[in-house]
């Protein structure tokens, strides 16, 4: 061999050695996740990878329905984890797409608020299908200059006074918002739970939404769409998430949000593990990591939602003064009780008659409403 050949071989050997060294060091594996946008920020993913050697690949989904579709695509083995909201989690559990985990292996589980340890949207027959993550209310957002007097009721988004200036989410679960309003304003309908509606109650909710339709400027699909609508004055009142309020206030738009007197719908998200994952070890490490007070606080402030770990409050205030109170992380049970968390509507809704409208009916009604 010539000298040049030896040099080449040496270079090759060095090149090959580096990745090989990397492989032996990183015994963690890769987690493929379906997540809400903003749920896998480098701020807390990078330290996780550094600590555990598990890398994270996230695909953002735009709706709960999309999450369920993605989890089932290609036989279900493609994704290891999903950050499912309450209106998707039961579908995933009963569809056998996710598996039960042992929460006693998660160090911070004992610090979770009592209501979040075994909520009905991720715990079935005492089995925990995942770990609660964060929650938040669907709020009433309004333009303080254009909407007077200050609204106190959801009646405002059904008020012809704001014709052409109203916006609500483009999501079948919005029917529950109408049902919640009727539950408080029309007791004769006998609605007990906005997600458990018989055909009569369901029809009343759809009728209300049909009456609302001429007032709607746009059914918003992305949070950024609603932000645009409020910034440009195309909408002055609507149903929203705290995230939009935060963004708009930061952009100096004259907006405020509130939870009206009827209460509000809300979401409680759960990190779930796919039934077919090959990375159970990494998945459990992620669950432990994401429930630590620091990560809980970081995510709460980034997204504008409320952590389930009661120890996160102090860290939130350290990161951003007053944020614990702003996102109700220290709120009393009273506040929590007025929020009706998203859950998948099913036919068998516990009244023994199995006559509730299931989610397929909700989706059909929503498509027909939009027309």
């Amino acid at each position: 061999m010539t000298k040049r050949m030896w040099a080449l071989v040496a270079t090759l050997a060095v090149c090959l050695a580096f990745p090989a060294a990397g492989v032996t060091k990183q015994h963690g594996g890769t987690l493929n996740m379906i997540a809400w946008e903003g749920y896998t920020q480098p701020q807390w993913v990078k330290p996780f990878t550094k600590k555990t050697g598990c890398t994270v690949h996230a695909k953002y989904a735009g709706s709960s329905d999309e999450m369920v579709t993605l989890m089932r695509s290609g036989g279900g083995g493609q994704y290891d984890m999903v950050s499912a909201s309450g209106d998707a989690s039961l579908r995933l559990i009963f569809g056998k797409d996710v598996q039960a985990i042992d929460p006693s292996k998660i160090p911070d589980y004992k610090n979770f608020g009592k209501a979040f340890q075994s909520p009905s949207n991720n715990t079935v027959d005492g089995k925990h299908y995942g770990l609660s993550l964060q929650w938040g209310p669907n709020t009433l957002l309004y333009n303080t200059k254009k909407v007077k007097p200050v609204p106190t009721s959801w009646a405002a988004i059904y008020d012809p006074k704001y014709k052409g200036k109203v916006t609500v989410p483009d999501n079948p679960i919005q029917i529950a918002d109408a049902a919640l309003y009727l539950m408080k304003t029309k007791p004769s309908l006998g609605i007990k739970d906005p997600y458990e509606l018989n055909s009569n109650q369901f029809k009343a909710a759809i009728d209300l939404l049909k009456k609302q339709k001429p007032l709607i400027k746009k059914y918003w699909g992305l949070a950024s769409d609603e932000i645009d609508l409020f910034k440009n004055g195309d909408a002055v009142i609507g149903a929203s998430w705290p995230y939009q309020t935060n963004t708009l206030v930061a952009a100096k738009a004259p907006v405020k949000d509130l939870i009206p007197k009827e209460g509000a719908t809300g979401w409680l998200d759960t990190w779930m593990v796919s039934a077919k994952t090959k990375n159970m070890d990494c998945a459990m490490k992620w669950l432990s990591w994401i429930s630590t007070p620091t990560v809980q606080a970081q995510q709460a402030i980034y997204f504008g939602e409320t952590p389930v770990n009661s120890k996160a409050c102090a860290i939130m205030d350290k990161l951003s003064k007053g944020s614990c109170a702003q996102y109700h992380a220290n709120a009393p049970l009273q506040y929590f009780k007025q929020i009706h968390f998203w859950k998948t509507p099913v036919a068998d809704c516990g009244n023994g008659q199995k006559d509730c409208m299931d989610y397929t009916k909700w989706q059909q009604a929503w498509t027909q409403l939009k027309g």
Binding site: E66, G164, K213, D228, T367
Partner: protein, 290 residues
Amino acid sequence: MRRRIGGALWRHQPLKALALLSPPVLAFTLVYIAALAALFVSAFWTVDPFTSLTIHSWTLDNFRELWNEPTYRTVALRTISIAAAVTITDAIIAFPFAYYMARIAKPHTRAILFVLVLLPLWASYLARVYAWRLILNSNGLLNWTLDKLGLPPANIAYTNTAMWIVFSYIWLPFMILPVYAALERIPHSYIEASRDLGGKGFRTLRSVILPLALPGIVAGSIFTFSLTLGDYITPVLVGGASSQFIGNVVYDSVNQSSNLPFAAAFAVVPLCVMGIYLLIARRLGAFEAL
């Protein structure tokens, strides 16, 4: 050996054509026709509502629902009407522009005009739709201009009118180019002959130029009509509360309900519409102008 194959191909010209054509034809059949066939077949299946699994048994349920549910008729009608409106608008705007480019402009000006027509196609489709959102919204450029002129504001943001304007803008180049090609091919002697026979400007335009340009206009309309018919992004971005297109219902069926068979059934509708449209277009001689 090689020489013998070459010789055989030389002696048998049809064989040569077959050898040359078969790879692209095979690819076309596999990629294009097979995909369409799969789509058509799955339209006759259904989905189990609970498990979201496809049930492979033949049924007309999807088509029955399409027919019986007025919403889907409204959506199909809206899609087709807006596609037609966009096509007519583009034809009216494109004709004088293409005429100027083909028959009046000097070569230098023509080159500049060509660049101007094609330039928007180099920018992202999304960026251009978002730009229109900035123009049309309540505090946007349009209302600002109207306000400066002392006129009342136009509230066309997030309406079907907004969709019509944006579609007409986006697909205009696809109308200008075939119309230009058709106009350029009209021999100058025809126009001179018309003049010699006493045909004034308008008469020449109506009896000579328009009939000869018609195949170009129809060819352009195939693009503008089918592109609008299949779009679903513009309705999401600039549409209002009642702006669903066929594409949006298809998208929601796949993404929200995991109901691929129903999406396939609805996708057959624009396919049929385009089929009929192409038959008419062929009658009008559009394919000779492509």
